[in-house]
Symmetry: C2
Amino acid sequence: MKTFTLYERFSRAFHDYPNLSKLVVLFTVSGGGLVAYSDANPISGYQSIFPVETENKKKRVVVLGTGWAGTSFLKNLKNPEYDVQVVSPRNYFAFTPLLPSVTCGTVEARSIVEPIRNIIRKKNMDIRYWEAECFKIDAQNKRIYCRSNKPSNLNGKQEFVVEYDYLVVAMGARSNTFNIPGVEENCKFLKEVEDAQEIRRSVIDCFEKASLPNLSEEERKRILHFVIVGGGPTGVEFAAELHDFVNEDMVKLNPGVKELVKITLLEATDHILGMFDKRITEFAEKKFKREGIDVRTGAMVVKVSDKEISTKERSGEVSSIPYGMAVWSTGIGTRPVIRDFMQQVGQINRRALATDEWLRVDGTDNIYALGDCATINQRKVMEDISAIFNKADKDNSGTLSAKEAREVIMDICERYPQVDLYLKNKQLRDIVDLLKESKKGVEKESIELNIEEFKSALSQVDSQMKNLPATAQVAAQQGAYLADCFNRMEDCEKDPEGPLRFRGSGRHRFRPFRYKHFGQFAPLGGEQTAAQLPGDWVSIGHSSQWLWYSVYASKQVSWRTRMLVISDWTRRFIFGRDSSRI
Amino acid sequence: MKTFTLYERFSRAFHDYPNLSKLVVLFTVSGGGLVAYSDANPISGYQSIFPVETENKKKRVVVLGTGWAGTSFLKNLKNPEYDVQVVSPRNYFAFTPLLPSVTCGTVEARSIVEPIRNIIRKKNMDIRYWEAECFKIDAQNKRIYCRSNKPSNLNGKQEFVVEYDYLVVAMGARSNTFNIPGVEENCKFLKEVEDAQEIRRSVIDCFEKASLPNLSEEERKRILHFVIVGGGPTGVEFAAELHDFVNEDMVKLNPGVKELVKITLLEATDHILGMFDKRITEFAEKKFKREGIDVRTGAMVVKVSDKEISTKERSGEVSSIPYGMAVWSTGIGTRPVIRDFMQQVGQINRRALATDEWLRVDGTDNIYALGDCATINQRKVMEDISAIFNKADKDNSGTLSAKEAREVIMDICERYPQVDLYLKNKQLRDIVDLLKESKKGVEKESIELNIEEFKSALSQVDSQMKNLPATAQVAAQQGAYLADCFNRMEDCEKDPEGPLRFRGSGRHRFRPFRYKHFGQFAPLGGEQTAAQLPGDWVSIGHSSQWLWYSVYASKQVSWRTRMLVISDWTRRFIFGRDSSRI
C-alpha cells in the first residue's frame, strides 16, 4: 500500500514521462534510496489516533514515556493481545547520544527524532498515543492522571485519566541540580532535544553579544567564557564539540575570536570520564590541556549567579569564575511524579524506582519500571542463603553434597548473576571448586557442607553486585526484554522458563533481565573518539571516530533519520557548521 | 531587457516541451555537488566581527536589515572605499518565498537561511555586522540608536549608537493587523522564520490535542479547523501546503483525520490571488473547492477571540467561526521605528517611507530606503510639465517643434517611466505621434505645440503610474541597484549618466531605478503551481511546479542552502513530512 503511494507520488509529478521519473528517483536517492524503499514496507494496520472505546477484554498496557526504554518496548512488543496506550509529552523518540552534536549544529535536531506514530503505525496492534504528561500514578486504583502540556484551546479538558492492567514506567530522569542555588535559573541543561536547541541558540547569542561595539575586552572575554559543569561523557563531548565549532567554523568568520573564547570544564572528582578506563581519561585530559580547554578537577560548584560561578576547591578555598554561558551536566535526579509514586509503594530515600530482576517495581505486581527512572534492586545471595541451602539439600540431610550443589548451580547463577560473575572472575568452572575452599583437604567429589560452611563459601559473591549505568544501552535492552516477556506472558505462565524460586515453590515465569555491555564511546573532538569495548579493549583516535560514525548511523531508529544524520555529517564536512541564530 | 527575452524564450520552450523543466531541475541538482566544493573555498579577506576604530576617512555606510533588500545591497557592493556597518536583529538572510514550505515541514527552516557573516566574509571590504535592533533614527545628527535583542548578561550595555554618512534603511515591514481586536493575541503570522517554525509546532499541536481521549467529536473538529485570513500568495500557499500535509502525511498516521480537518481561507475581496491573472484565480478557486478547502470571499474579519473568528459579510451579516489555529496573512504594515522616522522627515499619513526614483528618502539627502519599508513616490509629469516644456523648448520660442521634442524624449522617458509605458501601450514609436494627437491635421514634421497643447497631449500619461508590489523580487533589484550606485558614486559625480534635471540644471548622477518583472509563482499544492510570467504568459500545473523547483533552487543565496533545500525536497518525496513536535 505504501509502495503504491510512493509510486503514485512520483507518477503524479511525472505522469507524462515515466521513464524520466525512474531516472530522477535513481539519481536523487542513489544508494540509500533503494534501502529506504525496502524500509517503506506495507503498513498493514489501521490505527486511529483518536481514542476508540475498547469493548474487548484485552489487557490494557499503559506505557509512560517515549525515550529509549519506552520506544524499545513498543518496537519489540508483538503480541496483539494487548490494548496499548502510550502517554508522553514528546510525540517523538530522540536519539539522545547525538544531543551534544546538536548543540553546535554538527547534526540537526530534526535529524535525530522519529515521530512515535511512525514507529507504532508499522505494528499490527492496538496502540494509541497521547501527547500528555502523566502527573500522578494511582497504583491502588490502577489509573494514571495525565495533562496535556498545551492546555490552550482545550476548554479545560486538558486533564484526563487512563486506566491500566499493566503499567510500564519509562519516564526517564531529570537533570540533578543537587539543590545548588542558582543552577536552575542560570544554567542550561542537556537532556532534551529542546535543551540542545536552546544551547545552540545561546552559543550563537554569546558570539553575537560579544561582538557588540561598546564592550570592553574584559567583557567580551567574560561573555565568551563557556563553563561546563560535570566531566561525564555528555559534558566532555559538549566541550569537544564547542571547541571544534570555535576552531573550525567561528574562526573562519573572525580569526580574532580564538583569543577571546575560553572553555572551562569543572569536575568535582579527580578525573573527567571517571567511568572509563584510565588510559582514556588520561588521553582526554592531555588532549584538552593541549587544546586550551581548562579542565579543573576537584572543584565543587557551590553557587551560580547570572554572571559568576562559585566553586570550592578541596582545600576549602572558594573562588568565583565569571562566565557567559554555563551548561550543567552532572547526572540525573528523580522526577517529582516518580518520587510521589515511590512514596505510595513504600520506597523512601532511594535514588530511583527500585525493581526486581524482572523489572517489576518492588511493592507492586503489575507495574514495571525501566530506563533512567528505575534501578534494579538485585537480591543478595546472603539474604536468601538459608532458602537456597534448603532447596538445594534435596534429601534434607542437613548437608549439601557435590551432586546436589551441581544440580542447582544453573538456577543459582541465573537467579543471582553475581554468583556467575564471581565464578568467572575466580576462573572457577565448577561450583564445587568454590565450595571446596571452605572445606580444604576434602576430596572434591565427596564434599559435604553444612549451612554454615555453605554460607562461608558464598560470603564474598555479593561483592560482585553493581548497579547498571543510566545509559541508553541499558534502557533499550530493558525495553526489549520486557516486551519479550509481554509477548510470551501466557506461554510462560503455563510453562515457566525462569530459575527456581528459592523462597517459594516452582519456577519464575521468565529469566531475569541480564545486561549485555557492548562498549561505550567518548567523542573527544577533532575527529577523535575514545572507545571502550567489552574485553577491556580500548581504542582512541581517528579510527574510533569512524567506528563511532558507523555505530551511531546503524543504531538510528529509522532509515529516514539514518539518511538525515549521514547527510548532516556530510554537509558539515563540506560546508562546516551553520551559525544562524535559528 | 535582454534577460526578459531570454526568459521569454525559456518560457516558450517550457510551454512546448514541458519535460524540459524537469531537465533543468536535474541539471541544477547534478551541477550542485561539484560546484558546492568550489563554493567552500578559503576565505580571502580578514574581517573581525569586533569593532575596529576606523581612523581612515572612509565614508560610513550603515545598512539596517538583512532581508532581501539589505542582503542584495551587501552582495552587490564592491567599492572598498566605504566603511560598512550592518545592523539587524537577524544574523542571517532568509529565503522568505519558501517560508510557507517551512510551516508544514516540506523544507526545514535552517535550509533557507544563510548567515550574514558568510555572505560578507567573501567580500574584500570593511563590513561589520551587529546583531541588534535599530529603535531610533536620528537624521539630524546622522546617527542611529540600537539595542541588542538579547539584553541579559550585558551589564546594561545592550544599547549603542552608530554614526553614519549614508544610511540604507531596509528593515522590511511587519504584519498588518488593521487594529482588528484579538488578532495580535490569537493569530499566527508568517513573516519571519520563527513564525513559520511556530506555525509548524502549532499545526502538530492541534493534531495532538485533537487526539486526546476526553474530547467530543465537535471539539476535535474545532481544534482541527485551520483558518487562514488573507487570500494573497502567502495565504494560498500555506493553505495548499497544509492540505497536502494532511492528505499526504497525516492521513497515513491516522486515516480518520481527513474527515475532521477543515481548512478555511477568508478573503475580504471578491477573489483570492487578486494580483494574478484571472485564469490563475479561477483555477485556484476551483482546485481548492474540489479539494474541500473552503474559500470564503467577501468576508471581512472584525474580531478574533481565542476560539472564534467573527466575520462580516458584504450583506452586513456577522457570523462566528470556531477555529483551532488561525494564520493572519493580509498584508504589511509600517514598523514603529519607521513611522517615527517618517514624522521626523515630514512624511505623515503614508503607508511606507516615500523615496524618489533613486531610492533616496524624500526630505533627506543621505538616507536611502528600499524593500518593503519603502515606496517610490514617482514624480508626475503633470507636476513638472512647465519645466519640461521650458527645457525642451531650446530656442525659447514658446513652442515645441518635432525636432525639439525628439531631442528630449529619451530623457523624459528615463525620468518619467510612465511616458515610456504609455507610448508602448499605445504602440507609438515616436513622441511626435503622441503630440500630433492634440494637433490634428498638421503635418508630423512641421508640428509646433504651445504649452497648453503640450499639456493636453501628455495629460493621460500619469495614469500609467503604479506602485511596485512589496515582493522579494522588487527588494532584491532595489538592493542591487543601490549598490551599483554606491559602487560608481564618484565616477557618476564627475560624469553623470542620468537624465536631464528638468527642474534644475545639468543631469542626474544616476539613471533612476527601474523594476524588471520576471514573473510570479503561486504554488497551489499537489505538485501544481501557477506561474505568471512576463508577456502575459500563464502556466498552471505540474510542469510549472518543476519550473518553480528549478527557479527557487537556482535563486538560493549560497550553494549550501541550495543543496539543503534540494535534499529537503528529495527527503519529502521519499519519506514524507515529519510530524515530530520539534
